[in-house]
Amino acid sequence: MHHFHFGAWEGTIVSSESLVEICLHGRGGQGAVTAANLLVAAALKDGNKGVQAFPFFGAERRGAPVRAFARVSDGEIHLRSEVYTPDIVIVLDESIMRVVDVLKGLKNGGKILINTRKKPDDFDFSKKFKVATVDATGIAIKHGILVGGMPVVNTPILGSVPRVLDKVTLQSIQGAIKNKWAGRLAEINVKATKDAYDSTEVNF
């Protein structure tokens, strides 16, 4: 029996060429976990056979920074560990970026989608990473997607996901929303995703 040597681990997950790992940052109660679940439901509709969505495993408090994760792949996903080196970061609440290093682990050349009124080039990391921006809060208010008077951004921002992830279509995102909700609620959320899709600005 022979000995062998491992190359240094370079922080990149290489198990599947097609695997995309996504980290969503939000605040407790903003629906980051729901967004991750809808995202992978859409990805499955689009023919990606392996999908996973999970919360950061810990106690959740309303308003505190929270994370959720999604994986999308052509084949079955055997990974059960946390996402440490995402390909895509999605920020539901821009103010999180003052307290959480949302870029931590983001792969070189990775993409970050931010709910903000700013433009991609307004962020100093826009030279290093591919940045997409959308005013999901404004879109939620415009369509009256409110809970207790507060705008709900997790569904609108999903409309921007096809702009940073070509494995998922807007049609499937809207389909996943229509599977989860019915009537007017589904209708306004679907309209919001279209608005988000159209108004997303990218620097790539």
Partner: protein, 385 residues
């Protein structure tokens, strides 16, 4: 057939309800809570037509299941960690009474220190209760194993309770796609539960009465025989389910890329899935290594492991510790090999307290073993905790 994307707990609730138990009795505990909520929701939608008994503790949950099962009902429950420990007395009771209760256990750490994450000490410490123990590694496997568990538990040559364990959060709260077969497929596969005996007011019998030493001795031997029967039935049931549903997760072991392997890694639960990525990576580097994921801890796959040891040295990862000894799987593997094989066995403890075990840690563990840099067993990753 439909595809459902949901968390391990909601998938387990779906499987439990589709098995059509007559009685579910359960008490909520993190991280099992959404499993019982899921079943409660099926009561609301009318999809669960059995009796759902809300009890005041896990000891009562298992007691209610014992009573229901003894009355001839198909019976299901779920728990986790301290809930499982509170059931301990009644776990022995259910097994000695030979009642085919099926239970999910969501593997969670035992406190103190208070911790809701995963390791497997809760169910491993119930090893000697007589329950059959499965460990799952995906949501599809949770669904399929629950269905298979009813079939196995209720088989007249087994008639023992079955525990279906899966890791807290890593499986219980992670959404994955699962193929759900048609109800008819499950109805045909399980049939109606025909108890060998039951408590029946029209045909009174007594059970659990005083029994002398010689008789009790036979009771214990009969349980052992039933576990050995289960060892033979588990592969048959798994293969029959594969024919009906298309899904197969292995027999007592799931072998992954073991052909020509000079080293075989043994692991249970979610680490057993993550390890497949490690095996792929190591094989790309030319390492002749495969994986045997241990699905059943009881009955223990002794013969299969001896067979593997004729081909390869074994590396064992335990997400549990028998304090004062070593990892339970490591002990069992070595005991199985005694006098039958001179393969080397390397033991590692990893992931206690829910510490994440990514595939590259599994690679490092295997490298340590293969490079001969470990003696006895080792605690992996302790220094970074």
């Amino acid at each position: 057939m439909t595809i459902m994307i949901d968390t391990g707990n909601y998938i387990a609730a779906k499987a439990a309800v589709m098995a059509k138990p007559d009685v579910v009795a359960a008490y909520p505990i993190t991280p099992q809570t959404t499993l019982v909520e899921g079943i409660a929701n099926y009561v609301g939608t009318g999809e669960f037509k059995g009796e759902y008994i809300c009890v005041e503790s896990e000891h009562s949950a298992m007691s209610a299941c014992i009573g229901a099962s003894a009355a001839g009902s198909r019976t299901f429950t779920g728990t986790s960690s301290h809930g499982l420990l509170l059931m301990h007395e009644m776990l022995h009771w259910a097994a000695l009474a030979r009642l085919p209760v099926v239970m999910c256990n969501i593997n969670r750490v035992i406190g103190p220190g208070w911790n809701i994450w995963t390791d497997e000490n809760d169910s491993i410490s119930q090893r000697d209760t007589g329950w059959i123990q499965f460990y799952c590694s995906s949501n599809q496997e949770i669904f399929d194993t629950i269905i298979q568990a009813f079939r196995l538990a209720e088989h007249k040559n087994v008639s023992l309770p079955v525990m279906v364990s899966y890791n807290a959060f890593i499986l219980s709260h992670t959404s994955m796609p699962v193929e759900i077969p048609k109800q008819q497929v499950i109805d045909d596969f399980l049939g109606k539960y025909e108890p060998l005996w039951k408590l029946d007011v029209d045909n009174p019998i007594t059970f659990g009465n005083i029994i002398g030493p010689a008789g009790y001795y036979k009771v214990r031997r009969a349980m052992q025989d039933a576990q050995e029967n289960a060892e033979k039935l588990i592969p048959q049931i798994a293969k029959e389910w594969k024919q009906k549903s298309g899904y197969y997760h292995g027999d007592l072991l799931e072998l992954y890329k073991c052909d020509d392997a000079e080293y075989i890694l043994l692991a249970m639960g979610a680490i057993g899935a993550e390890s497949k990525v490690a095996i792929d990576e190591m094989q790309k580097k030319g390492v002749k290594i495969g994986l045997a994921r241990v699905r059943t801890f009881r009955p223990f796959p002794k013969e299969e492991i001896v067979k593997l040891s004729r081909q390869a040295d074994l590396i064992v990862i335990d997400r549990n510790i028998s304090v004062g000894s070593e990892g339970a799987l490591f002990s069992e593997v070595k005991a199985a090999l005694y006098d039958k094989s001179d393969a080397k066995v390397y033991g590692f403890i990893a992931g206690l307290g829910g510490k994440d075990v990514p595939y590259y840690d599994v690679e490092i563990i295997c490298k340590k073993a293969i490079d001969g840099k470990t003696k006895g067993y080792e605690w992996y990753g302790l220094e970074e905790a």
